[in-house]
């Protein structure tokens, strides 16, 4: 092989090596930047999903404000608000034509259902129809309530008495 041929071979090999290394570096960089871009796109997608979810929640919050406030009013917010319930029942008694007395107020926690209740016992008396009517009225109080026990008895010739126990739920959830 002549000297010029050898020189040409060496030069061509050098050029080939340099271009191969350059090409390899470019491929590596493209791959690396592509992975980085994929991660950023995923992060952007997650952020967009969060933003959409927040916007939807805000819209639902605005649209349902009235309904939620009405629904909240049917619960006792705390034990201190039981006075409102007692006042309501005491105001209904004379309208219904019965004489009412509040016997007891007790706090009760249902551990299985994880709910809090206020248990109130009322005693009232009147004519039989009015006593029965008032028991039905107590079933329709605007609270999340349930009648636990009802005891009706004849006190005199025309006077009937009743003892009713009601549970009213306290609005209690994990905050």
């Amino acid at each position: 092989m002549s000297k010029s041929t050898t020189t040409m071979i060496i030069i061509s090999l050098l050029v080939f090596a340099i271009t191969s290394v350059g090409f390899g570096l470019m491929v590596f960089q493209v791959s690396k930047q592509g992975d980085r871009l994929a991660q950023q796109v995923e992060a952007l997608k997650a952020e967009r999903e969060q933003e959409n979810s927040y916007n939807k929640l805000q819209q639902v919050f605005k649209e349902t404000k009235n309904n939620r406030s009405v629904l909240t009013g049917y619960f006792l917010e705390s034990q201190g608000n039981s006075i409102d319930f007692l006042n309501l029942v005491e105001s209904l008694a004379p309208v219904a034509g019965v004489t009412l007395e509040t016997d007891s107020i007790v706090d009760f926690e249902d551990k299985e259902a994880k709910t809090h209740w206020i248990v109130t016992t009322f005693s009232f008396s009147g004519s039989r129809e009015r006593v029965q009517n008032f028991i039905k009225i107590l079933e329709t109080v605007p609270y999340v309530a349930r009648l636990i026990s009802t005891d009706i008895s004849l006190q005199s010739s025309s006077l009937w008495g009743a003892k009713v126990t009601i549970q009213v739920q306290i609005l209690d959830y994990e905050k």
């Binding site: 997608k45 349902t64 629904l71 004519s127 009517n133 039905k136 009225i137 329709t140």
Partner: protein, 163 residues
């Protein structure tokens, strides 16, 4: 200086050689062209395949397919709220109806009391009328008895004897 025969021998070797592998150093344009083009096509093919694969794997990277789970998702059960509000509204209307019924119960009781008091008065009046009717009958009987006694004496009948 080489003679003519040497040149002829070389030329014969070059142009009429049966086994060309014996002269690898001699360039064959067809072979060289084929080798170069083959290598070129291989490089082009590999690059194309890699590019297509990268494109297909990253084509949908920007689209939202809902696969991302958002933390603390809040679910608002509108149907449940609506049904609860409807039930409470029904309770309120029933309570109103029951309270209105209390007034009607009072009216019925007053009417019952009135009817019971009026029936007592009627019985008392009837009792007084009955007493007034009886008195004149008794007086007449007494008068008749007195007349009978004064008019005829009582006749005594003797029983016949049995022999």
């Amino acid at each position: 200086m080489k003679n003519k025969n040497n040149f002829i021998g070389i030329a014969e070797k070059v142009f009429h050689s049966k086994n060309e592998i014996k002269n690898p150093q001699i360039m064959n344009p067809g072979r060289e062209w084929a080798t170069g083009l083959l290598i070129g096509f291989l490089i082009f093919g590999v690059t194309t395949v890699w590019s297509v694969q990268t494109y297909l794997s990253n084509r949908t990277i920007g689209e939202s397919d809902g696969s991302i789970e958002v933390d603390n998702v809040v679910i608002y059960r509108e149907a449940m709220v609506e049904s609860a509000l409807e039930s409470f509204a029904a309770k309120a209307s029933k309570q109103k109806q029951l309270l209105n019924n209390t007034d009607s119960l009072a009216v019925v009781k007053e009417e019952a009391e009135k009817t019971s008091s009026s029936s007592v008065i009627e019985i008392e009046e009837e009792a007084t009328e009955v007493e007034n009717v009886e008195l004149p009958v008794l007086e007449q009987e007494e008068i008749n008895l007195e007349d009978d006694v004064s008019a005829d004496p009582i006749e005594i009948f003797e029983a016949p004897s049995v022999d």
